[in-house]
Amino acid sequence: MTYEEFAGSRLSGLLRYAVMLTGDPHIAEDLVQETMVRVQLNWRRVARSESPDSYVRKILTNQFTDLRRGSWWRRVLLRAEADPAVPVAVDHADRSAERDQVWAMLGSLPRRQRAALVLRYYEDLPDQEIADVLGCAVGTVRSSISRALATLRTELVEAR
């Protein structure tokens, strides 16, 4: 598989994943751009790996969780607009505003917890694969997901 073929078929999926991780389309774009430049620089290694898809997902997730690793984070800091932690969408229809509270609260979670939630509830990955992506044990994945769910539950109860 060439890089072009990979990018052609996977770019949209990676962008969707990055939106779920960051909660902001612009930051998601920066994150994917940074990731794909790295992927291209190391394309031969990526193409030879067992699963290029999970390799690339891993690179992207690492960039997101490790603040100091990528220059995309500098761009985030330089960007004057939307703080990723603060939700923009305020719908005045009560019901939908309430529904979006979960989305808003995701921004306040530690990044690894948020990544674990996205990998399980959006990407639908089994816990073993989530552990591979995050580079930790399956038990750690489960405990951070249950901690994240507990945080969300508590905050939702307080908010409503």
């Binding site: 770019l11 529904r99 959006y122 969300l152």
Partner: protein, 321 residues
């Protein structure tokens, strides 16, 4: 599925339409990639320049020493009589850890052996890009019209072993440099300091805090190389088999040509030349690198005609340091 889990799934699904369109992002990635690749080419060239300079300086002496001790019976006078002075062209291929050709450099030794010219060719030049390791020399000859007396292959890891064998050298830096953009990495202060095996890789990578980043860093690389070359020829490293053994591991391929190049090379001036070039694009698709058509043909003609002294005098801006 608990209620909170359901809410999460809903929230993700609801925000799927926020996803940016892939097309414009793809174009931005290609632009950023061309820039990143150019930076990498510079970086790699510096490492390989380091290796080839050391090989060029040390190998002739090293190999002649080993040859004499291994075969003392053969008449050395006949084989060591001065070779007919003619220019030599050596192709240097820098391999990455996977054994792929990562850096390509032409090394030209003029007939008078007064200089060592290093001419880097981007590995991704159209015509070389994607070519099998064994066919790289042919591809480079085809592009440049230069035919090679030998091909030398250098692994990146060899540099550290080489530096270990030589021992610490004094390098004087005009400005402080750091390996990390947040200045939290290895810090090199301005001024003269000892650079040992463990310092080499950080020094050759340190470009943060420098006024001209990579370019200043490459000048530091040259300062390091000069220091190494000076030390090796001055303290007799080149005649000590125990210290030379690690150096020999970096030379593969036809080594006879290094013997011909002779020990006088240790006094030659090292000149690095960058071939200007840019991205070859087919609409927005990146095909590889291409030479600057206004400059490259003249450079390659000067290599073939052994007139690089004149050529470099006319192109001071393309010379390293």
């Amino acid at each position: 599925m608990t209620p909170i889990e359901e809410e999460l799934r809903d929230a993700f699904a609801r925000h799927e339409p926020d996803t940016p369109a892939a097309g414009p992002v793809h174009d931005k990635i290609q632009t950023a990639w061309v820039r990143a690749k150019r930076r990498r080419t510079l970086r790699r060239s510096a490492s390989v320049a380091a290796a080839v300079v050391l090989a060029t300086v040390s190998a002739p002496a090293a190999l002649s020493h080993f040859r004499q001790s291994a075969a003392p019976v053969t008449a050395p006078a006949a084989s060591s009589s001065p070779a007919v002075a003619r220019p030599l062209d050596v192709l240097l291929v820098g391999e990455d850890d996977a054994g792929d050709a990562d850096t390509v450099m032409l090394v030209h030794l003029p007939a008078d052996r007064s200089h060592i010219y290093l001419v880097s060719v981007p590995r991704d030049t159209v015509g070389i890009r994607g070519v099998d390791g064994g066919r790289v020399p042919g591809a480079v000859s085809h592009l440049t019209g230069v035919s090679f007396d030998a091909t030398v292959t250098v692994g990146f890891d060899d540099l550290r072993a080489l530096a270990g064998a030589v021992g610490p050298v004094d390098v004087c830096l005009p400005a402080p440099a750091n390996t990390n953009r947040f200045r939290t990495g290895r810090q090199f202060e301005a001024g003269c300091q000892k650079i040992g095996a463990d310092d080499v890789a950080p020094l050759l990578r340190a470009r943060y805090g420098l006024k001209e980043g990579l370019y200043d860093r490459d000048r530091n690389t040259q300062r390091f190389l000069r220091a190494v070359a000076a030390k090796m020829t001055a303290d007799g490293t080149t005649t000590d088999p125990a210290r030379l053994a690690p150096l020999l591991t970096m030379l593969r391929g036809d080594s006879e040509v290094w013997l011909q190049a002779a020990a006088s090379l240790s006094k030659a001036e090292v000149v690095g030349i960058s071939v200007p070039g840019g991205a070859a694009l087919d609409s927005s698709r990146y095909l590889g690198e291409k030479f600057d058509a206004a400059v490259a043909p003249g450079l390659f003609a000067a290599i073939r005609g052994d007139t690089l002294a004149e050529w470099t005098a006319g192109h001071p801006d393309l010379l390293l340091d």
